[in-house]
Symmetry: C2
Subunit: 354 residues, 2 copies
């Protein structure tokens, strides 16, 4: 890679999303008189009597969270989707006011009874229990006849809109395939047809070749998964976790691959926390095969991590202005982000052996 020409503004292409990102490597030198957020520390409360996700507590809707030991799944008391929504009545309306029924379910998955934990600070064996719950839920929900996509995700940290710090994720299952996975489905299918191979299998090889050399984008890996700052990353420290075999969804995972997924999540979130010595905020989630009954051999399981921090534990990247009205723009190269994530210790800064 010719370093020099990548120190100037240029744009890069995301073949999975068919979108461009503007890369302006020199930009973090500008002064910052803007918003400074609070750093997100770790709670040392193992049980919070006011938290509705802690075992034994009452929830706002009046329901009670049982005394659970490992993971706990329930239907969101304020679900954005309902299984029996009626079709909107638009008969005789102008064509430009188009609406459709959207049925679905929203579930909450508590990762652990201990209020103070996060994925980064959990034992791999406990994360494995979370993975098992994801596998089960993907199966249950995906088999429902009116559900064609199961979106599993986690919002970590107040900066990312998590309304409660207790370790938990969400699962939103919908009648229609949402726009993001629908666009990826189209791109994966088109690539498959044109090349006779899988886009992400091919991309995996490209990243393995670039490796961990100064201009490589690999952050960490294990037998089953590779975590990279993708060539087309939008967020400063965005990563893509790619299955090393062509697994279409959680449904295709072996027990070993479930443990490997747990391990790579632990590795990656640990590096994130170590970067700014903080509880690193992010949105993460899986993209995988729609549950619409089609084989979708073009699909390749992966996770996206979208973390907002840019300069420090308190100064984030704002995707506003040009980014909202024009196109995404980033201030450091993906290669330098990967290098920084590789350079931090593999062990969590709060868990160092004495």
């Amino acid at each position: 890679m010719s370093e020099l020409s990548f120190q100037s503004p240029h744009r890069r292409y995301n073949p999975l999303r068919k979108q461009w990102v503007l890369v302006s490597p020199h930009r973090t030198q500008r002064p910052w008189q803007g918003e400074v957020n609070a750093a997100s520390g770790f709670s040392d409360l193992h049980y919070d009597p006011t938290c509705y996700l802690c075992p034994g507590n009452e929830r706002a809707g009046g329901a009670k969270t049982p005394v659970y030991e490992h993971v706990y799944v329930f239907d969101n008391d304020y679900a954005a989707l309902l299984p029996d929504s009626p079709a909107p009545d638009t008969a005789g309306w102008p064509e430009l006011l188009k609406a459709e029924r959207e049925r679905g379910l929203c579930r909450v998955l508590c990762f652990h009874p201990d209020h103070s934990l996060t994925l980064a600070r959990m034992e791999v064996a406990d994360i494995r229990r979370v993975v098992d719950a994801w596998v089960t839920q993907y199966g249950y929900l995906g088999r429902m006849h009116e559900i064609n996509y199961v979106q599993i995700f986690e919002n970590r940290g107040a900066m990312m809109g998590a309304s409660n710090p207790h370790p938990h994720g969400q699962i939103w299952a919908t009648e229609h395939i949402p726009d993001e996975p629908a666009a990826e489905t189209a791109a994966l299918a088109e690539y498959h047809q044109q090349h006779g191979s899988c886009l992400l299998c091919d991309y995996l090889k490209v990243e393995q070749e670039a490796g961990t050399r100064p201009n490589g984008r690999i952050v960490c890996e294990n037998e089953g998964f590779l975590a990279v700052v993708p060539w087309w990353a939008v967020w400063p420290f965005e990563t893509l976790v790619i299955a090393k075999s062509h697994l279409r969804s959680l449904h295709d995972f072996s027990e070993e691959q479930c443990s490997e997924l747990a391990d790579i999540l632990k590795q990656l979130t640990t590096r994130y926390d170590n970067l700014f010595q903080t509880s690193f905020p992010y949105t993460m989630g899986f993209h995988q095969r729609p549950t619409d009954g089609h084989p979708h051999d073009e699909w390749h399981f992966h996770a996206h991590f979208y973390p907002p921090l840019l300069r420090s534990a308190t100064v984030r990247k704002f995707m506003v202005g040009f980014e909202m009205l024009g196109m995404p723009q980033r201030d450091i190269t993906p290669e330098s982000a990967a290098e920084r994530l590789r350079a931090v210790p593999a062990e969590h800064f709060t868990l160092k052996a004495a």
Copy 2:
């Protein structure tokens, strides 16, 4: 409109962007233990000696901001785009690592020398001077041979990443048409070809017919412009300002239309501030005809306002999790947002006559 069926989750289509949004009207009832931002008050400093946009002050790069009287334009000292960026050298690279040269310019436009002002609190005559500067800049930059799109925008408020509170906007001009206006160009052209009419001219009529009745989406208007919460709004109080005549760009504006644009911006930002009695944060900007030399008769000038606030001056909507990985989701109907913006006084709450 059949009220009832729109009180349940449903999805709506955005024909300009060819995207869906999930509407979950009942959702704001959920409890909020998440992030609470600082409210954005108004500064009463007319001149801030530490502000690099105040007249006569030194900028971080070493340049000096002159003592300007009305508006002032300069090239961003930390520009994300440069006029002479080289093409990235990707000869022999894997096809999946695609990059392109992106040349361009980033300018800053100070709206007024008074540090304490915002569009909402400026005189219409002064906003008119800002409009004139936009017209001039769109012309200058658009005529440059390597510039094919001119993106004019404003980030208002720390919550929206503005790195300085002084009243100002930005202009980023690029060699390629960025993804957002490129997608709108394609949608407008397709509609034009299929219907023989302009998508936004047709949509304007639909909104004028729905009007300001309880289920209408109009917020305010004047001779030249209509401000609506569009049918497909993503942000809680998002608005679209549509030119009432088929103007392709600022280049087609009469002097009167320039004054009408100034007036509608004053009206709309005043209503925004009055909603939560705060300096309402937002990203706003214009979408208009690309400057690539093609006639683009399909293009219809409009402004997008993307404000983050949801519940109050301090609690925002987070576009995270399902929104980043699936599709945008909103918690109140566009119709109820429009009703609330219509219900506030037309006069700014800080400027009431004694």
